[in-house]
Symmetry: C2
Subunit: 407 residues, 2 copies
């Protein structure tokens, strides 16, 4: 018997379930896999042997489609880092024992940086110990788009589409009055500004889009920010600003911490506000006009109702690729997207050594940001635009999108 | 010559432009109207004679459809209350002068409470002064759903659909880990809890939905809140709480103010956080588990990409009704929706005296809220459910929804 186990890990996205759907499609149709199981709550659930039978849960194409439009991790997730096998190999031995007991020949792990670290360590442990009856393959996922080795990450395109759509809508909303007002919108990303950059796509149909865009890569200057906003207010009633949650000053200190670390409430408890909230007060105190801050918060990563069809299809393809790599006897690889061209948009799917991916971070290159550090360049737009194309045809039931639960 | 002028006022919604589309459809097809103008920035734009020619801006059904999927007020808005005509009639005289100069026989004003006050005063001024060549009609709009005299308000159904969809997605997102966590989501509504109640519709397809729902009508007890959350945590890993921005204690003081009025930052400036942010700290300090607060902010009123088809269609019908009432020679009325039955959902459109509407507020009735004050009843669900049915078929271009600008 050769069984397959798939699991998910890290922060949820709108597309991670499509990757599981791809794994299932490949496993169900390969003729090479007996049981197809999902581990609940990632590698933690593997160690606790909490498995669900996916042949029972997914009985047809309608279930598969519903899985693809369900946000977050349908198999649950975890934040769990395996120990260094050189120090303590017991977790790895336990995983192998559980795999062998359940005749699991293929393990597909879908996740971000930490999950690829797990794939890397587990595959290396197998290789080192001559375990060649178990194949371990990773599939990428992260809204932050910060994985190296792949042109972009599943989940990012849908989050980018949500952000572009939301900025376009906010622009309409913020422009209705003929009085001066500043709206500061905080987008996810502590170390990489990709998601914040997606706000620029709100300009795709000729609208003005955000007046100013600050990613977290360049050093952020409060004085420059105030000067930039003042300048925009000279010619605009409404000024919309996109900022990364992780904007930092020249010393690498988060703006939210540098401005606000002494804030306390009635009970003496300290308040840590987001960077948009902090900048809201800066504008209020230094410029004095109407100002509002908005956090796109969890909505940007789970808004599956406005998912990018390109993202969902590619996520599925990466699941198919990951499963195929395992069935072909490969191990220690991550399925990845390689861009052939942007116009026309063309990609291919492949496996790359996961050791080249784990514990690295892909930041926004300098030439994707303008010289003033307050907008993105055409290179960024060329990179981002294909990723939000197409609308996933979401099925609604009783007025809300239909979701599927796997456990 | 008989010309028609339409204008919008108050806070933006996803449906207010559909009402303008309805007015335009009726005016263009009536054979009774020469020029069809829109005033920019509401009654303020009327006084400043800032008109756009809608026959130029809307040249076909594609434009009309695009207008219906454009959020916020395409003609701009204002927050402008006319003076009491008994004290100072000059603004009214000026409006009439401008109307006569431009041969405007019909004035349709789309908005909420304040806008209906304007319609009421202007129509009364005309009636009192024997001005019968100018007809003034209101059309309702408000995400808050707090207008009396109409079963519900355009814009509310789309905001409710966004809220139900978002809570369903957040529930998936918040449930991926097997650790205890509380998520507090703040929904618009300072005096009426309708929008917060819509979070319950996230349960429409069998999901758990928010564990607790606090509207702003009943007095909010911090102790009860903490006890409720503790109890939910006994049986759930993830506890999602919906609260109105306007929750108040038994003395009518906003919770955000009562808990937090002493908070200051490094510079001694005071922080006023939202009610969810305040409760986040209460949970952190008194319960100690992982906790996060989310504000749905402007997104809930401008997310036209997930608009309710029922809402958009009804909003259009109210525009048609308002225009027809004016063309029929009526004045001082507001177009309204009357519900005939909930199952099957059936409504009719009519005109009601605007004096019965202005300066009143429709709160959530006591029997729509459960005895514990932490959820809604079946009566609320029966009322809300029909309003989010159907998906407006939004046209996308370059990956984002297509919008139209009228000025």
């Amino acid at each position: 018997m050769k069984n397959l186990l798939v699991a998910q890990s890290g922060g949820p996205t709108a597309a991670i379930n499509a990757t599981v759907a791809g794994v299932i499609m490949s496993a169900f149709t390969s003729g090479k896999v007996d049981n197809v199981w999902g581990a609940v709550n990632g590698i933690k659930g593997v160690l606790e042997e909490r498995f669900v039978d996916l042949r029972e849960k997914i009985t047809g194409t309608v279930d598969l489609d519903t899985l693809c439009q369900t946000p977050a991790a349908a198999l649950g997730s975890c934040r769990f880092k395996l120990k260094d096998p050189a120090v303590d190999p017991s977790q790895y031995e336990e995983i192998i024992r559980i795999f062998r007991k359940n005749e699991i020949a293929y393990f597909i792990y879908v996740g971000g940086n930490d999950s690829m670290d797990t794939v890397d360590k587990l595959a290396a442990f197998c290789a080192k110990n001559g375990i060649d009856d178990i194949k371990v393959i990773g599939a990428p996922k992260t809204v932050d788009n910060d994985l190296v080795g792949t042109d972009h990450c599943p989940g990012f395109g849908s989050a980018a589409k949500y952000i572009a759509t939301t900025f376009a809508e906010l622009e309409r909303d913020c422009n209705v009055y003929d009085t001066k007002a500043v709206t500061i919108v905080e987008v996810m990303g502590r170390n990489a500004g990709w998601l914040t950059a997606a706000s620029a796509l709100a300009r795709n149909n000729g609208a003005k889009g955000p007046n100013l865009i600050y990613l977290c890569e360049p050093a952020f200057s409060l004085d420059q920010f105030v000067a930039d906003v003042r300048k925009q207010l000279e010619t605009n009633d409404s000024v919309v600003v996109a900022i990364s949650e992780g904007i930092k000053d020249a010393n690498g200190v988060y703006i939210s911490e540098s401005v606000q670390s002494g804030a306390v409430d009635n009970f003496g408890h300290s308040y840590i506000a987001g960077s948009a909230r902090v900048l809201e007060d800066v504008v209020r105190n230094q410029i004095g006009c109407k100002v509002r801050s908005i956090e796109l918060n969890l909505m940007q990563r789970c808004a599956a109702h406005v998912a990018s069809a390109t993202d969902i299809q590619e996520s599925k393809m990466l699941g198919l690729t990951a499963c195929q790599l395992a069935l072909d006897g490969q191990s220690g690889l991550m399925a990845a997207v390689e861009r052939i061209s942007s116009a026309p948009y063309q990609v291919q799917f492949k496996g790359i050594p996961v050791c080249e991916v784990s514990n690295k971070e892909k930041k926004v290159p300098a030439d994707f940001i303008n010289a003033e550090g307050n907008d993105v360049t055409d290179k960024m737009i060329e990179y981002l635009s294909p990723l939000i194309q197409g609308e996933n045809q979401v099925v609604y039931e009783n007025g809300i999108p239909k979701h599927i639960a796997l456990y």
